[in-house]
């Protein structure tokens, strides 16, 4: 693979999305602080959204909106389906984060700590 501009863009876009996903999984698996685990889940979300939108992108494409002046640009538009799916996924990600944070608040109220290695009743 020769390193022209197109390849550099490809590797950097996909690479940053995959790196976000991996950092998120690392945080979920390694970190002991519950808030950091929730942040890791949000990072996985963000990486997936970036990956989705990147797959739908077309070189020199415009946004899929028929604004005045772009009424006949349908052949030059990026794929709208991944964008609509990401819109859905962002809302679901918000719901997941909100419920996870409320569970963290309950755990903190019950155990007095947010570190999972200090919650004794989880061990057996």
């Amino acid at each position: 693979m020769d390193f022209d501009f197109q390849n550099i863009v490809t590797i950097s876009v996909y690479g940053s999305a995959i790196a976000l996903i991996l950092i998120g999984i690392y945080a979920v698996l390694i970190k002991k602080h519950l808030i950091k685990i929730v942040i890791g889940m949000s990072l996985v979300d963000a990486g997936l959204h970036l990956l989705f939108v990147a797959i739908g992108y077309i070189n020199n494409g415009t946004a899929p909106i028929f604004s005045p002046g772009y009424e006949d640009a349908a052949t030059n538009m990026v794929d709208p389906v991944p964008q609509a799916l990401v819109l859905t996924a962002i809302v679901i990600g918000f719901a997941v984060t909100a419920v996870a944070l409320s569970l963290v608040i309950r755990l903190y109220k019950h155990h007095g700590t947010v570190r999972i290695d200090e919650i004794k009743s989880l061990k057996w």
Partner: protein, 247 residues
């Protein structure tokens, strides 16, 4: 040791993800020609302008082509806010001061000045959801940030939960009844053929799509505001945590 295994696992995962995604060339046109559509996205791009007179194709997909999915999505949001309220349920009597120090009068006056403007921007974004980038979800999120500003600036500021419930329920009922009306008149749920389509790129265009997106905007704004209000009004209890005794 555990860290080593996790890093090895992530390295394997990252390697295969990279290999897989390098097979998909970035920025290549995969939509096919207008006569020979290769993906469903190309069909939407070629037909949305004539069939529903909506300029924002993403809005047409979210509200019309995948409208049922959006109904499920706002249901998930509703369940999240209800679940949050039930997890963090607290009786009215244990009302405690949220923040001990009141915010400065500069912040309070500034938020009072900005709040109507933020709400106006949110309303603009969801009313023009079928013409410009934006829509019900984005506009609702903007309105919720306006309420967040007020909740942070004023200790005593409370959003009436019965009003939020009413707005949310009416918006949901409007969405479902438009869908059912389409089922009665057109034969499919959310059929978009009984409203005048209007002219492309004018405010009143797209049939039922702007109405549904305005309903979604109100619903999302009410739900997000409810979630923020519940989260901000949660106070750690004064009593001794239960596992303190075990130590």
């Amino acid at each position: 040791m555990k860290k080593f295994f996790v890093i090895a696992l992530l390295a394997i995962l990252g390697f295969y993800l990279t290999i897989a995604f390098l097979q998909i060339p970035f920025g290549q046109n995969r939509l096919g020609q207008p006569q020979d559509e290769a993906t469903v996205g190309a069909y939407y791009l070629n037909n949305t302008k004539e069939k529903s007179a909506v300029s924002n194709v993403v809005t047409a997909i979210v509200v019309n082509y995948r409208g049922f999915d959006t109904l499920g999505e706002v249901t998930v949001l509703f369940l999240a806010s209800t679940g949050l309220a039930s997890i963090l349920y607290r009786r009215k009597e244990e009302e405690v001061e949220r923040i001990n120090k009141p915010s400065s009068s500069l912040l309070q006056t500034g938020s009072k000045f900005l709040f109507p403007l933020v709400v106006l921007l949110g309303i603009y974004v969801f009313i023009h959801g079928h013409l410009t980038p934006g829509g019900g979800f984005q506009g609702g999120a903007i309105i919720a940030t306006g309420f967040l500003l007020m909740l942070i600036a004023y200790q005593k500021y409370h959003v009436s939960h019965s009003m939020l419930t009413w707005v949310e329920s009416l918006a949901g009922v409007l969405f479902v009844s438009i869908g059912l009306w389409g089922l009665i008149t057109g034969g499919t749920f959310l059929e978009n053929s009984y409203f005048p389509k209007g002219v492309l790129n004018s405010l009143i265009s797209g049939g039922a799509i702007p109405i549904i997106y305005i309903a979604v905007g109100f619903k999302v704004a009410a739900e997000l505001t409810g979630v923020l209000d519940i989260l901000l009004n949660t106070k750690e209890e004064k009593s001794v945590p239960s596992n303190q005794n075990e130590k």
